[in-house]
């Protein structure tokens, strides 16, 4: 436990790395939730599964770039299939909001334990060189951590450009705001939903691989443990708002790592939770919500 001021600057650096991983994951999570209204609790386990696929590629001599590609591809394909083969059929059958949460939780538990059954109750480690330690702005970061930050920044720029500058992005935002109105206006909402799962899956896969590149080892529960911080970041920014999730990720990344340096690493998730509770007490729908709030907000 470090208490000197000299620990502060490096902890900011680690905070930015955590924020980068969290941003990839939280944007994917919140984008999909905003458009489909399905609270996908299997998200964390899909991250672990993507990391596992990346690990298999890595064990067969693949480079880290190939692992990242494999993870992203697996995340994308499995997310689209999961929606097409499981979630949409349940929705068509009339399963309600809560039933869908249980469906996603069931899928998550099954994916996690399938990994446990296939891979065993061990830690998996990627074979790779984290590179030289560099000190930009007084941080102590491995080259691999700089790469993680670059991937996240690149990913955020791509998502933001996609949402604000393209027709698909416009259609996605319209679908998120009001699905039936979007459909009535001639938007092929089914294809928009597919695109949302695809993009969310790519981010999920990337986040899964970079999460374990940063921690170097992972097990079958790694993703589902991280999901809690993802949810916190998404809620902080207002669920369904990708730009909000980016800010939420930044706040939580910094809070967890700075608190780890000054209080204790054991409590960093707890600090994330405390921040979430405080924000929700003040702004029940996230930091960026208007005071009038969403249409379904319960009057206090």
């Amino acid at each position: 436990m470090l208490t000197s001021a000299s620990a502060f600057v490096p902890s900011i650096g680690f905070g930015l790395v955590t924020a980068s991983i969290l941003a990839l994951a939280a944007v994917g999570f919140t984008l999909q939730f905003g458009i489909t209204n399905i609270l996908n609790l299997a998200y964390g386990d899909l991250m672990t599964a993507s990391a596992y696929i990346g690990w298999v590629v890595n064990q067969h001599g693949g480079s880290i770039a190939e692992s990242l590609l494999a993870g992203a591809a697996f995340g994308a394909v499995s997310s689209v299939l999961l929606n097409r083969l499981v979630y949409t059929p349940f929705l068509r059958r009339g399963t309600g909001l809560f039933g869908m949460v249980i469906v996603t939780l069931s899928v998550g538990v099954m994916v996690q334990n399938a990994l446990l059954a296939i891979g065993g109750a061990t830690f998996f480690t990627y074979n790779f060189n984290v590179g030289a330690t560099v000190h930009p702005l007084g941080f102590d970061l491995a080259t691999s951590q700089l790469v993680i930050m670059a991937i996240a920044v690149g990913g955020m720029i791509v998502v933001q450009t996609l949402l604000t500058q393209t027709r698909l992005g416009k259609a996605m935002r319209a679908t998120a705001a009001n699905r039936s109105l979007a459909q009535a206006s001639g938007i092929a909402t089914e294809r928009v939903v597919d695109a949302a799962w695809l993009i969310s899956g790519v981010l999920c896969g990337l986040a899964g691989v970079v999460l374990v590149l940063n921690t170097t080892a992972f097990q079958s529960t790694t993703g589902s443990e991280f999901l809690v911080v993802i949810i916190a970041a998404a809620m902080l920014g207002g669920v369904g708002r990708p730009s909000g999730a980016m800010v939420g990720a930044l706040v939580l990344g910094l809070v967890t790592e700075v608190s780890a340096a000054f209080v204790s690493p054991s409590y960093k998730e707890l600090f994330a939770f405390i921040v979430l509770v405080i924000v929700l007490l003040v702004r029940p729908t996230g930091i960026f919500s208007q005071f009038a709030g969403g249409s379904r907000q319960v009057a206090a």
Binding site: F90, T95, V101, V103, S106, V107, V109, A117, I231, L270
Partner: protein, 339 residues
Amino acid sequence: MSGWAFYATTLLVYLGVDIMAVWGLNLQYGVAGVYNFGFIVFQAVGAYVGAVLTLGPSSSNGGFQAYIIGANLPFPIPILAAGVVSGLLSVVVGVITLRRLRTDYQAMVFLVLSVAATLFVTNDTGLFNGPAGLSLIPQPLSSLVNPSSINWQWLYVGITAAFCIVIYLFVHRVTSSPLGRTLRAIRDNEDAARALGKDVMRMRLFIFVMGNVIAGISGAVLVQFIGAWSPGSWLYVETFVFFTAIIVGGTGNDAGVMLGALLVPVAFNEITRYLPQIGRPGLIDAIQWIVIGALALVFLWFWPRGVIPERRRRFARAPAPVETPTEAMQDTTYAIEGG
């Protein structure tokens, strides 16, 4: 022969504890529509409170485990206190989450709470002995009956059954009263219930606290029987097992969820105990979780109302015919025309 008796009595206690828990969760979810994904936390709180009030000071037994309080209180005070503490904590949690948040936000906050609580208790070693958890918790009434005898086992089955009966009477009273009707109305159409002047927030908070008091009691009853409790006993997925039990048995139906408790946590976990260990260690556990997940999916697909569905409630008196607003408006128009 006595081996079987020990096994049977142990199963009966587990069954009683699980039945209490699903009744508590069913009050929240099945009756009132509160999606408490952190239910297991309140069972855990009850278990820890029950444990530290039963245990002597932390320094006893050579001080091999660190924990707070250590009050050495006699049965049944620790169990009742567990319910009280669990209830007080729920008031705090409920006021924060139920008051202002949308239902899906609430579900997320409860899930986050569940994981954060596990991390907190695991990392704070001075509170409840950290990741190793508490053990050697004294068994109640051991001064009267030898706790390793079959008689004590049967005695504890009786104690568990007594708690079950008291909780059943309470749960039944809530669900069959006008209060239960209001709660179901809130579950089925929150806006309509509010329009009729029901205080949705207060009702939800009440049922949230009551369900968690039951969870706390069930946790304390369990911990006094098994004598040990650790963070591994209450991971967030354990709540999922209770939800599966409710869905399989019949959401909103007291008898149904009782059957669910028998089928899912008890029968399921115990059947697999006798499977030969195949493959690597932990493989059976993993398969068991996969099957529980599949069970929830299969029931939600084919029998979303469970084995024993919630019964349709009939009311003695048919509701009086209500004038629709359009008719009322037409009447006014005629009146104006007539005048």
